[in-house]
């Protein structure tokens, strides 16, 4: 019996090593850039990193990223001046665009629509509206030189807080243990395709078994509606508080949103208070091709084309008014 355990153990070890090598050779697992917190407490990627982002099994989506000296995924360096026209796209992973080659990003697509502009993509996975305004505020000197700033906002996600604080949970991903685990591409790949979900679910199941069962409350539809309205009001208040804290230049700043998933209360507030917003819902709805990837809800190339088109049209209108 000992022989069986010893030999099985040895085989498992050798197979794991071989799989690690194969996963690296075929680049099945994604590279994860290192995060860091700069002197303004802005969370971003450590500058000047390169790598490949992989989604799904068998490399269904494979793209190259390049973190520039400002700590964002872009083929450009962000050097705004008074002489040129610059556009900043600020947002979360959708703007960050690890799902595309960095030289084929939304920013690049917008640049292709114009002859003489530079687009700076300040995208970082998980950035909400507080993160975005904190970034703009912290790098005020730079942003003051940028002609148009587009802030990506998803009403249900990005307005849950009214003040900026460092998100420690995200930075915990840079803990020594996590960094060590990320060194194994086999582990990274296995996690990304969901092989590690069953053990995680098992741990959760065991945890919930130990906890006392709370009686579940039945909520009426009216109550659900009331809670929804309450939440929407809270998010609107958060928006107001954030723009009061950091300021919001209505002339230069525009919000990028999807009206299909945005509260009518928020939309009417924006219109009433003359906030510029770019709604990409009509183009997405009209598109016959899918706008998202297979594995997650991030935009695919078609989606990114449409976003670039919507932003470009908005900018052209704005520029023509000037």
């Amino acid at each position: 019996m000992k022989r069986l355990f010893l030999k099985s153990g040895l085989y498992i070890f050798l197979i794991l090593i071989s799989l690690e090598i194969l996963v690296r050779i075929f680049h099945l697992g994604k590279d994860t850039p290192t995060r860091f917190l700069d002197e303004h407490e802005v969370e971003k990627w450590l500058p000047n990193q390169n790598g490949f982002s992989v989604t799904g099994n068998r490399r269904q989506n494979f793209s190259e990223y390049h973190i520039n000296s400002s700590g964002y995924n872009s083929y450009r360096e962000f050097k705004p001046t008074k002489d040129k026209i610059e556009i900043a796209l600020v947002g979360d992973s959708f703007i960050e665009g690890f799902h595309q080659d960095y030289y084929n990003s939304i920013g690049k697509k917008i640049e292709n629509e114009f002859s003489d502009i530079e687009v700076y993509e300040y995208g970082y996975a998980g950035y909400d509206f507080a993160d975005q305004l904190h970034l703009v505020h912290s790098y005020k000197d730079k942003f003051d030189l940028i002609d148009h700033v587009v802030l990506g906002i998803k009403f249900s996600n990005d307005l849950t807080r009214y003040q900026y604080q460092v998100v420690s949970g995200r930075l915990a991903l840079e803990s020594p243990l996590n960094r060590l685990l990320k060194k194994s591409k086999l582990l990274v790949y296995s996690k990304s395709i969901g092989i590690l979900d069953p053990p995680q679910r098992l741990v959760y199941r065991l945890k919930t078994m130990l906890r006392p069962i709370k009686p579940t409350k039945k909520i009426s539809e009216q109550e659900i509606l009331r809670l929804k309205k309450e939440k929407e009001k809270k998010y609107l208040n958060n928006f107001e508080k954030l723009i009061n804290t950091y300021g919001f230049d209505k002339k230069r700043f525009s919000l990028l949103l999807d009206s299909r998933i945005t509260s009518p209360l928020f939309l009417s507030y924006l219109e009433k208070n003359q906030f510029n917003y770019i709604d990409f819902a009509p183009l997405f709805e009209a598109s016959k091709k899918s706008t998202t990837l297979i594995y997650d809800r991030h935009w695919n190339n078609n989606g990114r084309e449409l976003i670039a088109k919507t932003i470009s049209e908005h900018l052209k209108q704005k520029m023509s008014k000037k």
Binding site: V23, N57, P198
Partner: protein, 483 residues
């Protein structure tokens, strides 16, 4: 508990260690432990249906003894009927009750009598009921035919009925093979365990990589067959052939491999049926434990092939119809069985039903001959054609599916419903067929390579395959659980 679940991968080593370390000294304790583990294995799915297994166990245990004790032929037959009626009764109620009621309603409505289906019930089909009822019945039948002496040990018999590796989807064992091993003292055997682990690995590959990876394509094509051209429908049913093979033979391999870890040898259930040279050979290689069950307990008692040709043909039709019906309470399965009877009868009448019994394709050769390739291809085609009925939800669907193939005869490239590259699957299946061809001589030794390095490479590639084709969103239950 599914073989391809994390629960099983925790359950198995725990049971294995306790079995060989704690309970190995006394065979009775070892059997009691396996029995408890088996009930736990089954009870985790639905503990209420454990009572059915226990009831079936008790009935056949006592019936077996009664048959053995009695010298009167009529009494023996009477007791046998108790076993058969009880087990068939269980099956009839849980599996076929609604089918009979609905068929009756359909029949009377054809005669002009409208009836409401107020007699149908919401019945859950207990997993494995078709398998363990047949297993317990075979015990009573073997005693009746004086092929077996009943055991006096209830624990051993209960372990035979509910042995967890083969409880829910076979192989359907005979007492002469399994019970005799359960009652004998078992010794830990390193080679046997090693072979078991290899079979488990190969079975998992067939399930996770072949069956599960293809499942979304097959589901999509059969669900939306009216929208697809013939080329896609042919692709769908061909892939279903591989899916059902990977699924069921994968399960059987894991079952046989798991049993080996406990010192038990189960019978082979699949012997590379995709390389069969005619339909008769196919049935000697596909779901062997069920085909031999019908052969021993239905076909031979009816006279088998020792009666007139006409009666033999009748017997063949009976076993194929019954075999079809065993698979599920749906006319589709009966038609599927009938198609196989129609395919089998000419082979039987030409006397070619036993010519490939003990040989494999390209015996002692590297490559099959042109004729063999043609035979394999045509057998695969015929069997695949029958699967349209096996897979369709209703007879109407099956005929519409076939009609669509013949009326919408065009070619269009097919796109995977989840957006995966289709070429990956074609390469995968091509390699799988080639590999199975390489190992075709021994279904119990999927990694039979002399070189240790080649063996190691094979293990690694098989696991890599699982990593490449694993999809967490796919329903991973086994197809044959519904039977």
């Amino acid at each position: 508990m599914l073989f391809n679940s994390l629960d099983f991968f925790i359950f198995l080593p725990v049971v294995f260690i306790l079995y060989w370390y704690i309970f190995r000294k006394k065979i009775q304790l070892q059997n009691l432990f396996i029995l408890v583990a088996s009930y736990l294995f089954y009870g985790l799915w639905d503990w209420r249906f454990l009572f059915l297994i226990i009831a079936s166990t008790l009935v056949d245990f006592f019936v077996g003894q009664a048959i053995h004790k009695s010298t009167n032929h009529k009494t023996r037959k009477g007791w046998l009927w108790v076993s058969v009626l009880f087990n068939i009764g269980l099956l009839g109620f849980f599996k076929y009750y609604n089918f009979f009621i609905n068929s009756w309603i359909d029949f009377t409505s054809l005669l002009g009598y409208e009836q409401q289906s107020s007699w149908t019930l919401q019945i859950i089909l207990p997993v494995g009921i078709s398998f363990y009822t047949f297993q317990t019945m075979s015990y009573s039948l073997d005693i009746y035919y004086k092929r077996l002496v009943p055991t006096k040990n209830l624990i051993s018999f209960a372990t035979f009925v509910s042995f967890f590796p083969q409880l829910v989807a076979g192989p359907i064992e005979r007492a002469s093979n399994l019970l005799s091993q359960i009652t004998a003292k078992r010794k830990f055997n390193y080679i046997q365990c090693k072979e078991g682990l290899k079979l488990i690995l190969w079975g998992l590959f067939k399930k996770v990589v072949i069956a599960d990876a293809i499942a979304p394509i097959v589901d999509d094509i059969f669900a939306n067959y009216s929208e697809y051209p013939a080329s896609t429908l042919i692709l769908g049913v061909s892939l279903f052939s591989f899916q059902v093979y990977g699924d069921f033979s994968g399960y059987s391999d894991i079952a046989i491999g798991t049993a080996k870890l406990f010192g038990i040898e189960l019978m082979s259930n699949f012997k590379f049926p995709n390389f069969s040279r005619n339909v008769a050979e196919y049935w000697q290689r596909w779901h062997v434990s069920l085909s031999t069950w019908f052969r021993h307990y239905v076909y031979i008692p009816l006279g088998g092939s020792r009666v007139s040709k006409l009666k033999s043909v009748r017997n063949i039709i009976i076993i194929f119809l019954v075999s079809g019906f065993w698979h599920g309470a749906n006319w589709t399965f009966i038609v599927w069985g009938a198609i196989h009877a129609i395919l089998y009868i000419p082979v039987f009448l030409m006397g070619r039903n036993r010519i490939y019994m003990n040989t494999v394709v390209a015996e002692n050769k590297w490559f099959p001959s042109g004729i063999e390739i043609l035979q394999i291809f045509s057998t695969f085609l015929l069997v695949t054609f029958s699967r349209v009925f096996f897979r369709s939800q209703s007879i109407t669907d099956a005929f519409e599916f076939l009609k669509q193939i013949f009326t919408n005869f065009s070619f269009e490239s097919y796109e995977h419903p989840l957006g995966y590259r289709m070429i990956d699957y074609f390469i995968l299946l091509g390699l799988f067929v080639l590999y199975e061809y390489r190992i075709r001589k021994d279904e119990r030794a999927p990694f039979k390579f002399k070189s240790r390095i080649v063996r190691f490479i094979a293990y690694t590639l098989v696991i890599l395959g699982m990593l490449l084709f694993y999809d967490d969103h796919i329903d991973r239950s086994f197809i044959y659980f519904q039977f």
